[in-house]
């Protein structure tokens, strides 16, 4: 069967001061176009590392990654990334940060006015049109994260790579952005990999949940198919026994099979 994104036996070994550190070992994952996959696992297991491989920011020390049958050799505009630490440029306003991305992707083909509209539309989408002129140090952590999301969405990427995009948000904002994300993904048919620590979020949004074992040398422990029908509604799901079953499977993986090893003192 043809797969859009193929991760074949990917391993990642870092050279550190104390010798080699194997972060990921033998990751195999195939994704269809338009699929939504969540990565879940304990802190430090290698979720960001895996996402960076797909983003093309790092190359695997072993194995290969293919996107649309082409090897991933570096980052590309068809892959939008929301970084875990938002990574906004502090000397640009929120608008400037988003515009930088828009300009790069659409600058050659569209008018300046259209580019401005795109940047503003992306900010509006995350509810930050009013803060467009503010600089990153003038807004809250959650707002920064939303600007990071706007920057990635504004590129209209085919693949969205989200590293804990809703981590610093309050429950209400988080819920509304999750709904927004579901709508965007449905409209654009984007393929999504999202790192999350939130079991409910993973079940609500994903087609599959990929659970990583604890590092070092983390690998895929289990893959859970989320066969809940779409569109999904968080209130209805709350009463769905299927939803609770899926949820408890993820929890069982995290807290029984992959119990966080007690840190050596």
């Amino acid at each position: 069967m043809h797969h859009y994104l193929q991760i074949e036996n990917a391993s990642m070994v870092f050279d550190t001061k104390n010798g080699k550190f194997t972060a990921l070992a033998g990751i195999d994952l195939h994704m269809r176009q338009g699929e939504f996959v969540s990565l879940i696992g304990h802190s430090g297991c290698g979720k960001s590392t895996l996402l960076n491989l797909v983003a093309g920011l790092n190359e695997p020390t072993e194995g290969v990654l293919l996107l649309a049958e082409k090897e991933i050799k570096g980052p590309g505009p068809e892959r939008g990334v929301v970084f875990q630490n938002h990574s906004l440029l502090p000397w640009l306003s929120c608008y400037g940060n988003v515009h930088l991305a828009v300009e790069r992707v659409f600058g050659a083909s569209e008018s300046k006015r259209r580019l401005r509209e795109r940047a503003m539309a992306a900010l509006e989408l995350v509810g930050l049109a009013h803060a467009a002129h503010k600089h990153p140090h003038e807004i809250s952590g959650g707002m920064k994260q939303r600007v990071g999301i706007a920057r990635a969405l504004a590129m209209e990427p085919k693949v969205l790579l989200l590293d804990e995009p809703f981590g610093a948000l309050d429950a209400l904002t988080r819920a509304s952005l999750q709904d927004e994300l579901m709508r965007i993904v449905r409209d654009t048919a984007a393929t999504v990999i999202m790192v999350t620590h939130d079991v409910d979020e993973a079940v609500l949004l994903s087609d599959r949940i990929v659970m990583l074992t604890n590092g070092p040398a983390a690998t895929i422990g289990e893959i859970l198919e989320v066969d809940l029908p779409r569109p999904r509604d968080r209130l209805q799901l709350a009463e769905d026994p299927g939803y609770h079953h899926l949820r408890s499977q993820v929890l069982a993986f995290l807290y029984q099979k992959q119990r966080r090893p007690a840190k050596a003192a």
């Binding site: 920011l57 980052p75 505009p77 892959r79 970084f83 440029l89 790069r104 590129m155």
Partner: protein
């Protein structure tokens, strides 16, 4: 039921008639005098501000006073060194006419300062012109920095004045030679700080550049340059400081119009008051340069 009917609306109309308002109450207090300024809100704020300023000014004030006292005592017990009072008198005379011009060997103190500043400006400007791009290149390309490292580490510790003979030999004239000395001694802080700044651009920002697939030009203008700017400003500040330190010594050797040569000239005239004044002038101008650049650096910092 009460015998007196109370018409609220009618009372209201009475109250609203103009005359009722103008009648002062019988026992109205005599009109008080206007509140003194220092008892008003603004006055108090002013006082508090002045108090803060005063408290901030007291330690430096005492320090300076002690310094002048010490100077006075030392001067009183030595026979060459003039005390604060004669120096002050000489300074007043000197600054009464700072811009007279009796030919190249006798110009006002103002001209001398300006000439020195001009040399520092040109020498430093050239150093920035060469040093900033060089710093960016060395920071961005490890190969280049590897190539330059031995040269820089060899040349940087050389005393600035050691370059003067080379300058004189190459240019044959004093003026460009002293500018060359400024250039060569103030270029290192600019190169090194810029290169360090480029090497220290956070990986996160470079990742953004890669993910957005920015062109080299956009990487430079939107990421490298703003991120390096604070380091660059540090380099410029250090560099101007060095330039101002060096100019006095260089001018002593080359002559011409300038604060350094002026000091030498006054020494030959045995006018020690003027030498002391020159020391203060060099210190104050250096301080002003430093403060101006600090202010500029603050304007340029984004956070």
């Amino acid at each position: 039921m009460s015998a007196v009917t109370f018409h609220e609306d009618r009372l209201d109309t009475v109250m609203k008639r103009a005359d009722t308002h103008t009648i002062p109450p019988a026992e109205a207090p005599p009109r008080s005098r206007p509140t003194p300024f220092f008892e008003t809100e603004r006055g108090r704020a002013w006082l508090a501000g002045a108090g803060g300023l005063l408290r901030a000014a007291v330690p430096p004030g005492i320090g300076l006073a002690l310094f002048v006292l010490l100077w006075h005592l030392v001067a009183a017990s030595s026979d060459g060194l003039p005390g604060p009072a004669p120096t002050w008198e000489a300074a007043k005379a000197l600054f009464a006419d700072p811009f007279y011009d009796n030919g190249p060997n006798d110009m006002g103190i103002g001209w001398n300062i300006l000439h020195s500043l001009y040399r520092v400006g040109v020498g430093f400007g050239l150093a920035a012109l060469v040093g900033i791009p060089a710093g960016f290149l060395l920071g961005r390309f490890a190969f280049l920095s590897g190539m330059a490292a031995p040269i820089i580490s060899l040349l940087r510790p050389v005393s600035p004045l050691a370059w003067l003979p080379i300058g004189l030999m190459v240019f044959q004239v004093a003026e460009p030679a002293s500018i060359f000395v400024i250039f060569i001694s103030s270029i290192w802080p600019i190169i090194l700080n810029t290169a360090a700044g480029v090497a220290r651009v956070p990986q996160d920002y470079m990742n953004v550049a890669r993910v957005l697939n920015l062109s080299e030009w956009k990487i430079f203008t939107r990421i490298l340059f703003p991120s390096v700017l604070p380091h660059l400003m540090t380099g410029i500040r250090l560099s101007i400081g060095v330039a101002w330190l060096v100019i006095v010594a260089a001018e002593m050797l080359t002559g011409g119009v300038g604060i350094g040569f002026w000091v030498w000239d006054e020494w030959n005239n045995l006018n020690v008051e003027h030498i002391l004044i020159a020391i203060f002038i060099v210190g104050i101008v250096g301080l002003l340069l430093e403060q101006t650049l600090m202010w500029v650096a603050k304007r340029f910092s984004y956070a």
